[in-house]
């Protein structure tokens, strides 16, 4: 039986359980007239029955589906002829790949070795057995739950409370998903990154100035299949983010000041959403814009001044990223400026300050921590931004501060290392996880600092 059909049948079984539970409750109460003697409404008994019928069965179903492939693969591998077991991990992985292809029907059986063919047949057989067992087990669990609850239905069974407790746990489980995600991120990245640091020493990664993961000269020499000094990547990321900030901070801050302090309400109503459109545009669009419009334009301008501008200059990527970040800076600064109490402004006006003097010397100073927090968030955004730099920045790891040259960034390298064919044990692939770890830690740190500054500042006027 196919998994989706089984799922539908399990849901149908739960609906049936609801009806049976409800009918049973009415029956033990002695018909509809006796319902007032029940602790809960008849529907609550039905819901309780349905939950204990459906929930365990669906949990078994989900676990089984997600683990079936892993278990069967292990079983098949264990059954492989003895000579295969002596092979290296790499050969085993290759066989496994063949096996998967045969099972999926991508490769005709004639094209693979005898042992793989046997294994594939074995795999399919086990898969059929597993599917059958899954059907039997889930139905058995569901029906057992149904019968147990149904037998326990009595007028004094506190069905509503029991059912609500289950729902509350389910709601808690929903909010725990966020924590599980963080744990998942940390575990998966740290695990792969440690494997990388076992091959390449962490000091070389953090302080090395030579990055060329692609140059595997001798395939058997795992540890030295390239250079993994990430300093050029960090420098490139910082350079591009710095250019982006030079664009975004003045424009964002001044438009926030204008919109919050000067602009009439009607102008503000129109302009603010218009600026926020920039935040809603997908980053891949910015990337395309940088490649097809800004990059060539910069080259033309550079030629006019006799400056050599690289085709994928840091300047083009940084400028476009700056445009993307403007709305972040402007809306966060706007919030902070409008949060400054009017009394501070009135005080400055009363001393004879002009509007701009008030803004510069009173409002901005009061809002400064919040604005700094906003800028930090924007920096973290710029560092983690991927598509613009993948499309508009280069691949070559140059260690330079010249914005007209091509540089590469952490995110670009993650994408380049991981897109395409890959194996999980090569240092090239693992390096991407090490870079991911750095990225995660840096952005996390920036966010924590930013949120701390913003929160601390807010307390002052509350």
């Amino acid at each position: 039986m196919s998994s989706s059909l089984l799922f539908v049948l399990l849901v149908a079984l739960s609906v049936l359980a609801f009806q049976l539970g409800k009918a049973r409750a009415i029956a033990v109460a002695g018909g509809l007239r006796g319902v007032r003697d029940l602790h809960s409404l008849p529907g609550h008994y039905g819901l309780l029955t349905a939950i204990w019928c459906g929930l365990p069965a669906l949990v078994v179903f989900a676990l089984w589906i997600s683990l079936q492939d892993i278990v069967i693969t292990q079983l098949v591998l264990a059954d492989l002829p003895a000579n295969a077991m002596g092979q290296s991990e790499r050969v085993l992985a290759l066989m496994l790949n063949d096996l998967r292809n045969v099972v999926a029907g991508n490769v005709p059986t004639e094209m693979v070795s005898e042992s793989t063919r046997v294994a594939a047949a074995e795999y399919l057989k086990l898969q059929r057995i597993a599917q059958l067992a899954l059907t039997v087990v889930t139905f058995a669990v569901g029906i057992a739950g149904l019968l147990v609850v149904r037998a326990r239905i009595r007028p004094d069974l506190r069905a509503r409370n029991a059912y609500e407790r289950v729902i509350e746990w389910a709601l808690f489980a929903c909010s725990a998903v966020a924590v599980l995600t963080t744990i998942g991120i940390v575990l998966s990245i740290v695990f792969e990154a440690t494997r990388f640091f076992n091959i390449v020493p962490i000091t070389e990664f953090v302080f090395g100035t030579n990055w060329s993961p692609q140059m595997a000269i001798r395939a058997d020499q795992v540890g030295s299949s390239g250079a993994f000094g990430a300093v050029p990547l960090f420098a490139g990321t910082l350079l591009i983010s710095f250019i982006a900030m030079i664009v975004a901070v003045p424009i964002g801050l001044f438009s926030a000041i204008y919109l919050a302090e000067y602009a009439p309400l009607e102008v503000r109503k129109v302009v603010k959403p218009l600026l926020e459109v920039l935040a809603g545009v997908p980053t891949v669009v910015y990337g395309f814009f940088a490649v097809t419009t800004v990059g060539p334009a910069l080259r033309v301008v550079g030629e006019a001044f006799g400056l050599p501008v690289a085709g994928e200059s840091a300047l083009a990527a940084g400028l476009v990223m700056g445009i993307m970040i403007i709305p972040f800076v402007s809306s966060l600064s706007d919030d902070m400026i409008t949060a400054v109490p009017q009394s501070l402004r009135d005080g400055a006006y009363a001393l004879g300050a002009t509007r701009s003097e008030t803004i510069r010397q009173v409002v901005l100073r009061a809002a400064l921590p919040g604005i700094v927090g906003g800028v930090l968030l924007a920096i973290s955004r710029a560092i983690g931004e991927t598509m613009i730099v993948v499309m508009a920045a280069g691949l070559a790891a140059n260690l330079t501060a010249n914005p007209l040259e091509a540089v590469t960034t952490v995110t670009v390298q993650i994408v380049t290392l991981l897109v395409g064919d890959q194996e999980f044990d090569s240092p090239k692939t693992l390096a991407a996880f090490a870079l991911g770890l750095v990225l995660f830690l840096v952005t996390l740190l920036l966010n924590v600092i930013a949120l701390y500054i913003v929160r601390k500042y807010r307390e002052q006027y509350d």
């Binding site: 963080t182 998942g184 600026l275 920039l278 545009v281 097809t292 955004r381 991927t386 924590v448």
Partner: protein
């Protein structure tokens, strides 16, 4: 009187003297603000302007009108009429014959090759499709509009100037002569390009369409919505209505805020390591994409849903509890129905963000060249923004237009989604 103290009169003189300077500074400051706003709006206009200028033409495409003779000798010499035989036939030859009939004076191998280059290779596939669908047309003639080559298309749309050097325009002078002759009698012109929305990806710009990518995006978003909306709303309800104030809920809250700011590419790494590496779900599948985007949009939805729940006044809760409702009945019967519009708004905004996201999808392999339209959640697929990324990398000039066209389609979807969210908010937002 010493120098350090000033009389009121002197101060007034000083202030008056500085006033002009201070007013100038004031005007300057204000001007900076206006300039910044103008720059911001200028960027919006310029960005959208260039994209639309480059991409609007994608909805029209050059077609050549040719009279095709379905010659039985070429298509089916054995007269079997079996689809397997018909598929094998040389349909290119039919197009070539038609072109030769159209220009009887052209002779010589290289000249003929240039003539054949006017029509796209997709034309023969179109003929094949027609014959297999209805073998009875063999032996008849039919006048059809067939796809022109992308180089011809670029010339007709004036994306390439005819004065450009030959290797830039990729058309010879003779081919331009053919094009002019065809245009003169109206058998080569721009027609509405429905194929852009109904075709999958292709290596030929004139045949490439966004349907595969759109379907991939739709499948991915469907999974994202089905998972992230219930989980997000559930989490928001727990945190707003049930959670005790203790360390565990604090941890969860800090977590959600931090997750909202984690770079999207990190979610891609997570998806690669867990869903593909550990659970063995096939790469490139919308299923994995949906899982990753669920985790990515969850913080957005939770934060929006919590705001919607907070907006429901406590009096409603107190009234329900006062009538003897349990905590869950209070939430389910009274608070949730009032908060649902706000939650839906948040969900739509989260979905819009997921639709535009491409970096995590690159990590999990939804970046392959896939011609077929995916038909299920485990088929290899790509997504609309990833399609934009893929096309933007291709050297043919025709793909610049296709890329912009795909961006226009993407932006239209985003505009519709965001507009729906705004309308929903304005319609259902209640001030208590």
């Amino acid at each position: 009187m010493n120098n350090t103290t000033k009389t009121a009169e002197q101060t007034q003189v000083l202030v008056r003297k500085s006033l002009a300077r201070r007013y100038r500074a004031e005007r300057r400051f204000r001007l900076y603000g206006i300039a910044a706003v103008a720059a911001g709006i200028g960027f919006v206009v310029f960005l959208f302007g260039t994209i639309f200028a480059q991409g609007a033409s994608v909805f029209r495409q050059s077609y050549v009108q040719l009279t095709i003779v379905y010659d039985p000798e070429t298509i089916d010499p054995a007269d079997t009429r079996v689809p397997e035989e018909l598929v094998e036939a040389d349909y290119q030859a039919l197009v070539r014959t038609a072109l030769r009939e159209r220009f009887p004076n052209v002779e010589g191998r290289s000249n003929l090759r240039e003539l054949y280059g006017i029509v796209s290779s997709a034309a023969s596939i179109e003929l094949q499709r027609r014959v297999v669908a209805d073998p009875s047309i063999i032996g008849h003639r039919e006048t059809l509009w067939l796809l022109a080559d992308d180089t011809v298309d670029m010339l007709l749309k004036e994306k390439v100037q005819r004065s450009a050097p030959v290797d830039e325009r990729r058309l010879s002078d003779q081919q331009i002569g053919f094009i002019d002759a065809l245009r003169a009698n109206g058998t080569l012109k721009l027609r509405f390009n429905a194929a852009f929305l109904s075709n999958g990806d292709s290596r030929d710009p004139e045949q490439a369409g966004v349907r595969g990518a759109l379907t991939g995006s739709a499948l991915t978003l469907l999974i994202t919505l089905l998972l992230s909306f219930p989980i997000g709303v559930g989490a928001a309800i727990y945190l707003e209505e049930f959670a005790p104030r203790n360390r565990i809920t604090d941890v969860i809250e800090v977590n959600i805020n931090n997750l909202a700011a984690v770079p999207s590419i990190v979610f891609g790494l997570l998806g690669l390591a867990t869903f593909i590496g550990f659970f063995g779900i096939p790469r490139s599948a919308p299923l994995v994409g949906g899982f990753v985007l669920t985790l990515l949009t969850l913080p957005t939805i939770i934060i929006a849903s919590r705001a919607a729940l907070k907006a429901v006044p406590p009096s409603i809760r107190e009234a329900a509890l006062g009538m003897g409702a349990s905590q869950l009945q209070m939430v389910g019967h009274h608070v949730l129905p009032l908060a649902i519009p706000g939650m839906l708004t948040g969900a739509i905004i989260g979905m819009a963000r997921a639709l535009g996201e491409s970096a995590p999808l690159l990590m999990i392999g939804m970046v392959a060249f896939i011609v077929d339209v995916p038909s299920g959640i485990t088929d290899p697929a790509t997504a609309l923004p990833v399609q934009v990324f893929l096309w933007s990398d291709l050297p043919e000039r025709g793909f610049v237009e296709r890329t912009s066209g795909a961006i226009i389609v993407l932006l239209l979807f985003l505009i519709v989604m965001n507009a729906t969210a705004v309308i929903l908010r304005n319609k259902f937002e209640k001030r208590w």
